[in-house]
């Protein structure tokens, strides 16, 4: 039981929070700009490496620097939109998807050129867990990650439900044509969407790096689970993406628990296949996802 909590439940919540943050951006981009952004994983990577650079520069604690990294990443993504996506905005969707694929490769290569391809970490020290009731081991960093993710999700909720910019985002996700006829500044809504999506992705990347390490492939590796989370929650549904992220993260970590007998149900090496299996299952049986998103 304790083993379950220490090695499966808590890591599942941590991974799920990170996936949730990433999936919100994917689903918002899909809902408002109407394409699957393959460069979203790289946005996460960028957020992690910006944080690393800021640590080298200032020597401050990574978590203090995450907001700055979020802002830098948002700026970078706004630049990418201006250069790559905006000129293609009115063409067929597939062109945007392929452009995002190209951008994904370019960003990853750039990160490799600037920071190198080896594993890196934010800090060299070891994180010691708090031990509760003799056996329950909680790592402070896990509490911090889950807390930060929940805080950011609450902020997204407030943005979407309370602010003019957030309501305009939801309006445009409902109908871009009516949004234009209503006088909504659609380019501005698109910029807001990139800022929110990139900011959350940067936070997700930095938190993932804080939990484990940095690698130039880190974003690409979580792209599939994040797409699975967005699909599970229903494309275009930010709350669905949050729930989907948690479910996928938990499913990955819980799949390696010895549910039957003494061996892990799914060998840890195949953990990544769990998200893929869930994604295929959703596409076959419930393409609109749990929250009735758009079917394409």
């Amino acid at each position: 039981m304790i083993e379950f909590v220490n090695f499966h439940l808590v890591p599942g919540l941590v991974l799920g929070s990170i996936y949730a943050l990433g999936a919100i951006g994917v689903t918002l981009t899909f809902g408002i700009l109407r394409f699957a952004n393959f460069a979203h994983g790289e946005t996460m990577t960028l957020g992690a490496y910006f944080t690393l650079a800021l640590i080298a520069l200032t020597g401050l604690h990574p978590l203090l620097l995450v907001p700055v990294a979020m802002a830098l990443t948002a700026l970078a993504v706004l630049g990418m939109d201006r250069l790559f996506f905006r000129p293609l905005r009115h063409g067929p969707t597939i062109i945007l998807v392929i452009a995002s694929f190209g951008l994904m490769l370019m960003v990853r290569s750039l990160v490799q050129i600037v920071w190198g391809a080896k594993l890196q970490t934010f800090s060299k020290g070891i994180d010691l867990p708090w031990v509760l009731l003799d056996t329950l081991r909680i790592f402070p960093k896990h509490v911090v990650i889950i807390g930060a993710a929940l805080g950011l999700m609450a902020a997204v909720h407030l943005l979407l439900s309370r602010t003019r910019a957030g309501k305009a985002m939801r309006a445009m996700a409902d109908s871009p044509d009516l949004a234009r006829l209503t006088g909504i500044d659609t380019e501005r809504v698109i910029r807001t969407t990139w800022i929110v999506g990139a900011g959350l992705a940067a936070a997700a990347g930095a938190l993932l790096a804080y939990d484990t390490h940095l690698h130039t492939n880190m974003g690409f590796r979580v792209l599939l689970p994040i797409f699975a989370a967005a699909l599970l929650g229903g494309i275009g549904r930010p709350y669905g993406a949050m729930a989907g992220g948690l479910v996928i993260g938990m499913a990955e970590e819980l799949s390696t628990y010895p549910w039957i007998g003494t061996e892990p149900l799914v060998p840890p090496g195949y953990k990544a296949g769990v998200a893929f299996a869930i994604m295929v299952a959703i596409l076959i049986w419930r393409p609109s996802g749990l929250f009735r998103g758009r079917v394409f």
């Binding site: 003019r164 309006a171 409902d174 009516l178 234009r180 006088g183």
Partner: protein
């Protein structure tokens, strides 16, 4: 105006005018170009000839978002509300281009459409057809428009709800908002209209006061179930000379 979407022209030298505080109705068979005339006014139809003028200013070729900012409010025939936004949020979006305090205007809208007041927090997509149409009109009125364009606001509604909509259209107009309305329910629409135009095949066919068109035998034959069918109208020699 003469114009089309991509290829062929769909309206030919159509002339439509709305004077201050008027209700003007466009009627005509399916595909006559009624919605296209509205699109031309909104900058969503390529205008090859003629002009779009708003209170004397030439708006020909101005993009839709700028025309909307000039106070031209449009309620499309379908997809005219944001289904996942609440009624109140739809109204707030209607006021997107306003920078002043529009809360009193929202309350005015609930007074104009009492059934909506109870549904403020309901997503617009969950409302009945008639209520959704009310949200769409209220949303368009949030800017206190220079002119209100309604494309078949009563399509698919029950006779009772249709009556409600026509009554509200009149009431909006009595407060001074000029209205250009496309309608299939020609009898009721002409009943509240100051003037009307009949469009056929993308051209002006007839023009007159609401009462005058109601009394016209050709209009009766075409749209009011007066017998004779469209063939009689096609054979009529009311021509382009009635164009305004």
């Amino acid at each position: 105006m003469t114009g089309g979407y991509g290829g062929a022209e769909v309206i030919h030298e159509v002339s439509v005018r709305v004077d201050p505080a008027e209700i003007v109705v466009l009627i005509g068979p399916n595909g006559a170009g009624k919605s296209s005339v509205m699109n031309a006014v909104l900058g969503r139809l390529r205008v090859d000839g003629g002009h779009v003028r708003l209170t004397g200013r030439d708006m020909t070729g101005v993009p839709p978002e700028q025309i909307v900012r000039q106070g031209v409010s449009f309620v499309p025939q379908t997809g005219n509300v944001f289904p996942n936004l609440t009624v109140n949020e739809n109204l707030e979006m209607g006021a997107y281009i306003r920078s002043d305090d529009f809360r009193p205007r929202i309350e005015e809208m609930y007074a104009l459409f009492p059934p909506l007041a109870e549904k403020r927090r309901a997503p617009a997509g969950t409302l009945s057809g008639g209520q959704r149409q009310m949200v769409a009109i209220a949303k368009a009125l949030m800017v206190e428009p220079v002119v209100l364009l309604l494309d078949e606001p009563t399509a698919g509604l029950s006779p009772r709800v249709r009556g409600d909509i026509f009554r509200v259209v009149r009431e909006i107009n009595t407060h001074g908002t000029p209205i250009l309305m496309v309608e299939q329910n020609a009898r009721q629409a002409l009943g509240i209209a100051d003037r009307g135009y009949v469009l056929v095949d993308g051209r002006n066919r007839l023009e007159g006061t609401g009462a005058g068109l109601l009394a016209d035998p050709d209009v009766g034959a075409m749209f009011l179930g007066g017998g004779g069918g469209e063939s009689r109208a096609e054979a009529s020699d009311h021509g382009d000379d009635t164009r305004g």
